[in-house]
């Protein structure tokens, strides 16, 4: 299969004004340079679902913004759909969809349906095709009841479902998702992950998803790229990451007395089912959660092994 995204030695530096007061800084301000993305290279094939993960400030969002033609890089080369993103904004916009978890592309005071109609006009969609496409997405993302509500009255989870529909309305081949589950509760996160994956599988959409939640990548993607301090430190399948670094799990048990017990297990040594069974036998359990190690711990582990 052909590469739909190609990135070679991509760099992005930000010049940030140093926080200084006084007359000197007024006439001669001082700047410091921050390497947000530092010579990263990778490629993504058509239909792949790739997680782009890393801790806060790692450079995930900056990379996704360069690939989705929002930002100009400082140096390096990238091609999306055979086009240089920052030089072909208009042409590329018809092939890509973007979802930014912390920003909305829907009109705040308008009913969701009106926002979709406007987006249909913005993308110059044919009226009949637009209606057919919207109807399919509305059914897939189960948002029929939300269409008449103004965006401002939706919950974060509901809004995110509508945001994803908005970004898919023009049937893009590539979907960039920047922290789509940020701020959502466990149930809403699960719904969003399931729907994103379902849509990608059904329509063979290429996904590039950024997150600092390892569950997002496990449940949605088949490949993972880990980035830290602007540098690419891991680029392999989810299975490879699981085998190497995600064998450790944390089980947290809340007993009926309200006591919390946290246990770390290695799934290579003890299967997760057995570990849970042991805990249930030993305590009167009222609640149980299983967690992956946090991102920072995985990164530490990657560096340690290198």
């Amino acid at each position: 299969m052909t590469d739909i995204i190609k990135v070679e030695q991509l760099c992005k530096k930000f010049k940030i004004k140093k926080d200084s007061s006084g007359l000197k800084s007024f006439f001669k301000p001082e700047y410091k340079t921050v390497n947000a993305v530092d010579k990263i290279s990778f490629s993504i094939k058509k239909g792949e679902r790739v997680a782009f993960i890393g801790p806060n400030g790692a450079g995930k969002s900056t990379t996704i913004k360069m690939l989705s033609s929002i930002l100009y890089p400082t140096s390096g080369h990238a091609e999306v759909f055979g086009l240089i993103p920052w030089e072909n904004r208009r042409t590329l916009s018809k092939h890509i969809g973007t979802v930014f978890g912390q920003r909305s592309q829907l009109w705040y005071n308008l009913p969701v349906q009106d926002s979709f109609n406007l987006l249909g006009k913005i993308y110059d969609l044919d009226e009949i095709k637009f209606k057919r496409r919207l109807s399919k997405l509305v059914k897939l993302f189960e948002i029929r009841d939300l269409l008449s509500h103004p965006t401002c009255s939706l919950s974060l989870g509901q809004r995110m479902r509508c945001e994803i529909v908005a970004s898919l309305i023009h049937n893009p081949e590539i979907l960039f998702l920047d922290e789509p589950t940020i701020g959502l509760d466990v149930t809403a996160k699960e719904i969003i992950r399931t729907l994103i994956k379902k849509q990608a599988l059904e329509e063979e959409t290429t996904l590039l998803l950024t997150s600092h939640d390892t569950d997002d990548m496990e449940k949605v993607c088949d490949r993972v790229i880990i980035i830290n301090k602007g540098k690419l430190i891991f680029n392999d399948s989810i299975q490879a990451l699981k085998d190497s670094y995600l064998s450790k799990k944390y089980i947290e048990v809340t007993t009926e007395d309200g006591e919390k017990i946290r246990q770390e297990i290695n799934t290579h040594q003890i299967p997760i089912k057995k570990a849970i069974d042991d805990l249930v036998k030993r305590y009167h359990v009222s609640d149980i959660t299983v967690e992956n190690p946090p991102m920072e711990e995985i990164i530490k582990e990657i560096y340690k092994r290198d």
Binding site: L71, R103, N109, L110, L118
Partner: protein
């Protein structure tokens, strides 16, 4: 080509529809205009009696009505642009097949149209009630209204250009405040420039406010096809100048937006 403009027309329609939802704002505007007409009418009536110029209040109140319609209907577009640039919001629209500038400008025009139509409609009835006979021929009313509406569009374009200065300035508050005050003074927004000394009018002629406000609104009491032509020419000139600046600033912004959007 027409299809390309459909998206802006759709945005205009939505914004026009949305403006009606803000009933408190619209009522406030009309109430303020009513008070203004009432007070200034009393003022000009007294001046008219003292100077023996009967009907002077009609001329000046109609003038005031159109001046206020242009000023009050103007949306705070400079704030919108400034906030969008500084917060990085703009970055999230530039990868869509639409001009971000035209999108925001069209939205502002939708809002402005509602305010302008209401102010002129309601204000005309109030002015007729207070002053009686207008100083223009009734058949000229649609043309005067149209010219004032176009001036309001140009005024919005001017303030949009100020908003784009957010690219270079950390705050545009002082600049927009200064421009607003200058518009009041050089545009003769409260009193026609005829009451000022000639040297002042000569200076005012070099500013865009002279044609946007005074020249256009003057049609209310001094309508002629020559004056109308002059208004079209002068406003056309300033439009070209503003559009050139906006095109330049916007092209810079498209590349520099990374500073604020990253």
């Amino acid at each position: 080509m027409i299809k390309a403009w459909n998206k802006y027309f759709a945005l205009y329609k939505i914004s026009f529809k949305q403006a009606w939802y803000n009933k408190a704002n619209l009522s406030g505007l009309l109430f303020f205009l009513f008070i203004l007409i009432f007070i200034y009418n009393r003022l000009w009536e007294v001046i008219g009696i003292q100077t023996g110029e009967q009907g002077i209040n009609s001329t000046f109140i109609w003038y005031l009505l159109f001046a206020e319609a242009i000023i009050l209907s103007s949306p705070k577009i400079e704030r919108t642009f400034f906030d969008d640039i500084r917060s990085g919001t703009m970055a999230y629209y530039i990868n869509k097949p639409i001009s971000f500038f035209l999108m925001r400008y069209t939205e502002a025009l939708g809002n402005m149209s509602v305010c302008f139509c209401l102010l002129v409609g309601f204000g005309s009835l109030a002015t007729l009630f207070f002053t009686g006979q207008p100083p223009f021929k009734i058949e000229h009313f649609p043309l005067i209204t149209l010219m004032c509406f176009l001036s309001a569009c140009l005024n919005t374009l001017l303030f949009a250009a100020i908003g784009l200065c957010g690219l270079w300035l950390h705050s545009i508050r002082t600049l927009s405040m200064a421009i607003e005050r200058l518009a009041f003074i050089f545009g003769g927004a409260i009193f026609p420039l005829t009451i000022y000394p000639q040297w002042f009018v000569d200076i005012a002629k070099w500013t865009p406010f002279y044609s946007i406000y005074y020249q256009t609104i003057k049609l209310v009491y001094d309508f002629s096809w020559t004056n109308l032509g002059e208004v079209i020419l002068l406003n056309g000139f300033w439009s070209l100048l503003f559009i050139s600046f906006i095109t330049y600033a916007y092209s810079k912004l498209n590349k520099k937006v990374n500073v604020y959007g990253g």
